[in-house]
Symmetry: C2
């Protein structure tokens, strides 16, 4: 049975199988070794994620699959970081609760799947001008519902939770802002990922997985590759 | 537990999670309803596919998952149709055996998963000039290893097998050639899919699935959509 990698998060995960998306790229990269399974929930914050964890990852008794995945990416914070006094306040989660919720999510996964590699991903930076230009809900205040400063605080919390739990993390907020012209190159609407943003997430995920021993070099291929099949006797490759 | 759709086939399936690929588009389309699971094996023909069926789809006893998928696409023939006297002859499967093998694959799936919708996809048309320009193996004969005429014969056989089995089929060979400029628009190297080719396969798969009752309108959403969550009381959506 081919092992799994779950990608768990908000809309930046739910949309990750769109054109050039980082989730699809991951599935393509591991096309002969791992099933990349999408668990993305647009608009969700860590509070809601905790509420649905059992349904998103049902146990065998609930019709699910008890096989431990190789890895799971946990990519929340972009909605938690909505400002509490702006138009998307209903998605806001206070910073201390966000930290606590991330700890809880990690604990639940660690308890259920002790050998599974958990990889945290911080929220991306925010282009505030674009957030005003592409509102998700009615915004009569003339102020963006998310700011780059707030996203940065949540990213910093995410990085520190990873350190406390001893698990790897991608500090996307910092990483993306190192890219010249990140607002347009990495983001499509000031929050969601454009082509370069998707490429950065994909490359970072691949790198972090490789760091913990999960790579094309280390993972077994399921069935003979065409390059390993002897043209003079192809069926020999399929004998046990 | 979220239901599955398997995509099973050769390199045109294995590569379907690349940029703009039809498999990734399918996963994106069903991002909140179905897990689209990749079982693509580059270079494989129906003879080899039969040899690996048990390993590609292990039963629960073999570490697999016995839950019946909603649907499975079976997309072989492009390698079977390699000419027997050209440079890729080792992949060739005679037409009568191709027919027989497709029947066997369908029978095995029908026996194991009686309610699963099986969708056959015929091989695509071939741009012979491009096949000479982009060889996969050394080709000293100056003649393409695949011809459009041979691919057409295998496509016709695929369509008739579907009729004999009473299952839906996408006649990709015919469909694609209805598109003006198909050689460049639909194919990247005379065989594999370019952007328009991927779009055609995706649209056809979605249409055929809809015809048998599998669509976004009919499939249950796993968890509350952000558009259904009450901003004044979000947690209400997560009470059972």
């Amino acid at each position: 049975m081919r092992p799994k990698i779950y990608v768990f998060g908000d809309s930046i995960t739910e949309g990750s199988f769109g054109d050039g998306g980082w989730g699809a790229s991951l599935a393509h990269h591991f096309s002969r070794t791992v099933d990349v399974v999408l668990r993305g929930y647009s608009g969700y914050n860590t509070r809601w994620a905790l509420k649905v964890l059992d349904k998103a990852f049902p146990a065998a008794g609930g019709g699910g699959d008890d096989a431990a995945p190789l890895a799971i990416t946990v990519f929340f914070g972009a909605n938690d970081a909505c400002l509490p006094d702006r138009c998307s306040a209903f998605q806001h989660v206070p910073l201390h609760e966000y930290r606590h919720n991330l700890h809880s999510i990690i604990s639940i996964f660690k308890k259920r799947w002790p050998k599974t590699q958990i990889l945290l991903i911080s929220p991306p930076p925010i282009d505030e001008d674009a957030r005003l230009k592409y509102p998700y809900v009615e915004n009569t205040m003339g102020m963006p519902e998310r700011t780059n400063e707030a996203a940065g605080a949540y990213a910093k919390a995410c990085v520190s939770v990873a350190a406390e739990c001893g698990i790897p993390v991608i500090d996307l907020w910092t990483k993306m802002q190192q890219y010249a012209g990140w607002k347009k190159a990495c983001l499509s609407d000031g929050l969601h990922l454009a082509q370069t943003g998707n490429k950065i997430v994909f490359e970072e995920v691949i790198t972090k997985l490789r760091d913990v021993g999960l790579s094309l070099e280390s993972l077994p291929i399921d069935l003979p590759l065409i390059s390993d099949i002897d043209p003079s006797n192809p069926l020999k490759s399929f004998e046990n």
